[in-house]
Amino acid sequence: MKILVTDDSRVMRQIVIRTLRQAGYDDHEIIQAQDGLEALQMVGSEKPDLVLSDWNMPEMTGLECLEALRAAGSQVPFGFVTSEGSPEMREKAANAGALFLIAKPFTEETFREALDGVLA
């Protein structure tokens, strides 16, 4: 499977990718985008099986990206990995069509809990 990791922080993208490996998802292809706009374009061109996205990014936020994808008819599985995990954010994410929201800081166990049902 192909996973698109989206975050404006290169360091955080590396941390997310490392955690994916540590959580056991080391046989998946990982591709990267640095903001929501690039992710939106890459969903069209790269056809990932899952998008993991930060929320707060320049150019286009993760939420705007998800809304644009759903408005365009894409049903690609989408989850947030973000520093804000309040109930309000989780509700917004779910209403927009996100499968889950992983709050930073996270552990490999957090990733497994969120991703096992998606990547199994």
């Binding site: 404006d8 922080s9 290169r10 360091v11 955080m12 590396q14 941390i15 490392r18 707060n56 990014m57 320049p58 973000t82 520093s83 804000e84 995990g85 309040s86 309000e88 709050a103 930073k104 800081p105 996270f106 552990t107």
Partner: protein, 170 residues
């Protein structure tokens, strides 16, 4: 911080969270991001003369910033930890700004989640430590990591100017 102005008398941050809570958030961040066994010890050591800071702004009923401050060498060491970089890996300044900004971002996101009112979080910024406003609107953790000073502050923004004083006389 010049684009972030609080109301003249916002509720002080110290009425919404305390240093122990900020330390608890930092403990989780350090374990998860910096590394297993890496501890932010809540014992102050003398602050370095030259520091770098990263922060995120929080805008809502309470306006302010969550700021991480340390010396440059500590910022580089933190970056190496976040990237799990091993010598002779070369750490670029861009990565140092990015890593320190992400620490501020994750701390800020967790602090924001504890505020009673809905608010928004800005993108990470780095530079000289931004000025704090009123001393009572500041929650501060003076700590050390690997024996070096590291400070986390949750600080209210500069109070908004009184617009009536700034009007051009007729």
């Amino acid at each position: 911080m010049s684009d972030l102005l609080s109301s003249p008398a916002q509720q002080p941050i110290t009425e919404m969270l305390d240093a122990a809570t900020v330390q608890s958030i930092a403990d989780d961040v350090w374990t998860s991001l910096v590394g297993d066994g890496e501890v932010l010890v809540p014992l102050p050591v003398p602050a370095p003369e030259v520091t770098v800071s990263a922060w995120v702004q929080i805008t809502g009923r309470w306006c302010g910033a969550v700021v991480v401050t340390c010396d440059e060498a500590t910022a580089v060491a933190l970056t190496e930890c976040l990237l799990r970089a091993r010598p002779p890996a070369v750490i670029e300044q861009e990565d140092v700004d990015d890593a320190l900004g992400e620490l501020a971002n994750v701390l800020g996101g967790n602090v924001k989640s504890l505020l009673p009112e809905l608010s928004s979080l800005g993108l990470p910024q780095t530079g000289p430590i931004p000025p704090a406003s009123r001393p009572e609107d500041l929650c501060r953790v003076d700590a050390q990591w690997r024996g070096q000073s590291l400070t986390i502050t949750v600080q209210g923004a500069t109070p908004a100017p009184h617009t009536e004083r700034n009007e051009v006389p007729q």
